[in-house]
Symmetry: C2
């Protein structure tokens, strides 16, 4: 990113033109992000995992008391009961409680439709010879949700992770959330109450991931762990993958806006800010065929930035990772969007569906001028846990399907075993697997 860093200091965000020579190299360097692999973190995490696996509750208690400056006497003391969750909910202002409940209701409604539409009923079909083939779909038994403590503690994430699991039919949801110095976030606990989380433990870091993955005397073993966390949590999730399921390891958040140049430029500037305010590494990019409109958005950025409480974060994010890009036309904007495969894609145009039909890769698409990403982050209904760092090329929003698994069902009739047995035996002999062949041949009538 040396070229971007050498831009004049007063420019708040890079300007690029897709017709420039070397544009694709520019774009590639702008998008380049590699999660740092810190050997020291990884080796600390390996030790904590091994310790919790071996010593269970004792290891969880010691590491939690040490890292979070607590003085609990047992892991049981670290559990928050349902009464405390309900008390947190009751403590909210009516406006905030109503907003959280409406968001939960809409997220639930969307995921219920998703459940019905994603093949949750399984299927089965019968062939002419009586052979029945199909697929059975079942929910996971028990799921762990990691919720970060401190500055990145988002009640909306509790809803987005817990509700699809509940809708899928997961019997038990265990939430873990660290409470450094014993400070609890009432909004997070209220969200847990609304989402129907079954048990909450105030533990975090690699020790929490280990406890969920291996189980301890007090904390039940789960089948999958979802939810965001810091570098220690990410390293721990990578290491327990296989013992339990995990969701994607998220990179910095991204927004890509395609605009035809007729949306209020203040709106688009604020949409870019809304991503940039998350984190210095967050990425906000605008594609537009109208150079004068990019000037207008640039002016809006300049005008509005000073008023934002998180202006320092926004300024760094836009300067290092943002861009306003002039494209030839809307088709080129769609081509570039497919190569970026953004987490969030706003299509702020007339007839947005026309352009959405040309997009193959995006975590979520926000169509039309009124669909700001912020609405999707909280309450539109679809999940806000989305694939980052170009992984939308091969992965999906968190959904009901992440809390279900499938089993193939194979009933071969006696008649079916006659034709299938001959084929299987022929191929098994070809692979040198004679017991496979004989097992099929035993079912043949002599």
């Amino acid at each position: 990113m040396s070229e971007l860093n050498s831009l004049p200091k007063r420019q708040l965000i890079a300007r690029l033109d897709a017709s420039q020579e070397n544009f694709s190299e520019h774009l590639a360097s702008l998008l380049a992000f590699e999660a740092s692999e810190d050997e020291a973190i990884d080796s600390t995490v390996a030790q904590i995992l091994a310790d919790v696996k071996k010593r269970g509750d004792a290891a969880v208690l010691e590491t939690t008391n040490r890292f979070d400056r607590l003085s609990a006497n047992s892991v049981t003391d670290l559990e928050i009961g349902q009464a405390e969750l309900q008390a947190a909910l009751a403590s909210l202002t009516p406006e905030r409680r109503q907003a959280l409940e409406m968001a939960a209701q809409r997220v639930r409604a969307y995921h219920e439709v998703q459940k019905n539409e994603c093949g949750s009923a399984g299927f089965s079909y019968t062939e002419a010879d009586g052979t029945v083939l199909g697929q059975k779909v079942t929910p996971l038994d028990r799921v762990g949700i990691y919720v970060p403590g401190g500055k990145a503690a988002y009640p909306s994430s509790v809803l987005m992770n817990a509700i699809p699991a509940k809708v899928a039919g997961v019997a038990e949801i265990i939430m873990v959330v660290p409470t450094p110095d014993g400070i609890k976030n009432p909004l997070v606990l209220a969200a847990a109450a609304i989402a129907g989380v079954d048990r909450v433990f105030t533990i975090g870091g690699a020790q929490a991931v280990a406890a969920l993955a291996y189980g301890t005397a007090t904390i039940p073993q789960v089948d999958k762990i979802v939810g965001p966390g810091n570098a220690y949590v990410a390293a721990a999730k990578r290491r327990v993958f296989g013992t339990v399921g995990i969701d994607m390891i998220a990179g910095p958040s991204e927004i890509l806006v395609i605009c035809d140049g007729t949306t209020d430029p203040d709106w688009i500037a604020m949409d870019l800010f809304s991503q940039a305010e998350h984190d210095e590494l967050a990425q906000s990019i605008l594609l537009c065929p109208d150079a004068a409109y990019l000037d207008a958005v640039s002016a809006s950025i300049e005008k509005l930035l000073g008023d934002m409480p998180r202006h320092e974060i926004i300024r760094t994010s836009l300067a290092n990772r943002g861009a306003l890009i002039k494209v030839l036309d809307m088709q080129q904007a769609c081509d570039i969007a497919n190569s970026i495969a953004a987490e969030h894609l706003e299509i702020s145009t007339e007839n947005p569906q026309h352009w959405a039909d040309r997009i193959r890769h995006a975590g979520a698409m926000f169509l039309g001028r009124f669909s700001s990403e912020a609405l999707g982050d909280y309450c539109a209904g679809p999940n806000h846990v989305l694939p980052t760092s170009r992984t939308a090329r091969f992965s999906s929003p968190l959904g009901v399907y992440d809390f279900q698994k499938r089993s193939s069902m194979i009933f071969v009739s006696e008649q079916g075993a006659q034709s299938l047995g001959k084929v299987a035996a022929e191929l098994a002999y070809g692979e040198g697997l004679q017991a496979h062949a004989r097992s099929a041949e035993y079912r043949l009538k002599s």
Copy 2:
């Protein structure tokens, strides 16, 4: 497993009783399997990945020539053209070719039903205020399939990995298969021809995974890599996860048989062999409420083992990891099966569906006496790539859904933005994200 190893030498397979004290500890030690994490392999793999990422074709060519004892002049020389694939197909005996084509046709038919039933069409619904929510489903652009060389080169695996990708609509499938000393397996090449693989390169190991994950001048970058491989391949897949998608890292294969004691004991013995012959680490377990029947299966094992060409592997596998387990009744058998969460579960009973309804965790269920696992391995239709090592608790057979991804679709109407905007702003202020709040508030009518 010290207790199992101390069994009398002549016993071919352990006998357990679920009513014994310490049965659950016995079972846990029998199931225990940890993939060895070899630091030396991992560091070699890290070097190869970095080298291919940096030097591209040159690194792929050098490592392939060195490890596989070839003397190719360029990576282009390592590509097998469609003509050679077709020639391999033409070289098969008519019986073998017909068996391969029938297997492919049945696998294709099953996965086409699966595609129709798993929500591939996406969905969309409109709310009263005109807001439209939904989900778009699209295939991956390009997929890489790893096929091992040497003894574990299975044409059936080519079909099982490539056909679901084709059915999903993946535009390009790149297969890699190492050919140590230049020896090609015509059955594998024929299977690639039948499955519609687009390009084949004779490369393997970490260098092949790196080439697919990063792309080189000759080998295109893919979006996901699937298929089994040795420890180097597994380590490389773990490391490139995130840059590309990967399938599960498979452990040793497993069969669990639940039998009511009325199936021909020779059939069940051979079914246990068919898993054990894969690999010394493979696992074959039988659950039955009838002790006399377990004696009969034990006698069948003794009688039949000597005739099996792979009897040494079978003997080791059964002795170290197999078991015949007496259960109280069929319900207990189902409970144990749920705790084992086997890759393959045969329910060899009268009215097998009755018991299948009680199973929550299994990769594939084979119902009834004629549904031997071997039929499913080759040609029943469902996929033979299945979750191992208890991962059926949270993961699924390879399927069309592994080659598709979803995008959320959010169109908020002007009217919808009024109610959603207030909720989003309230929650955004609660999380301290003011740009999110302002972005939502801009869409409110003043």
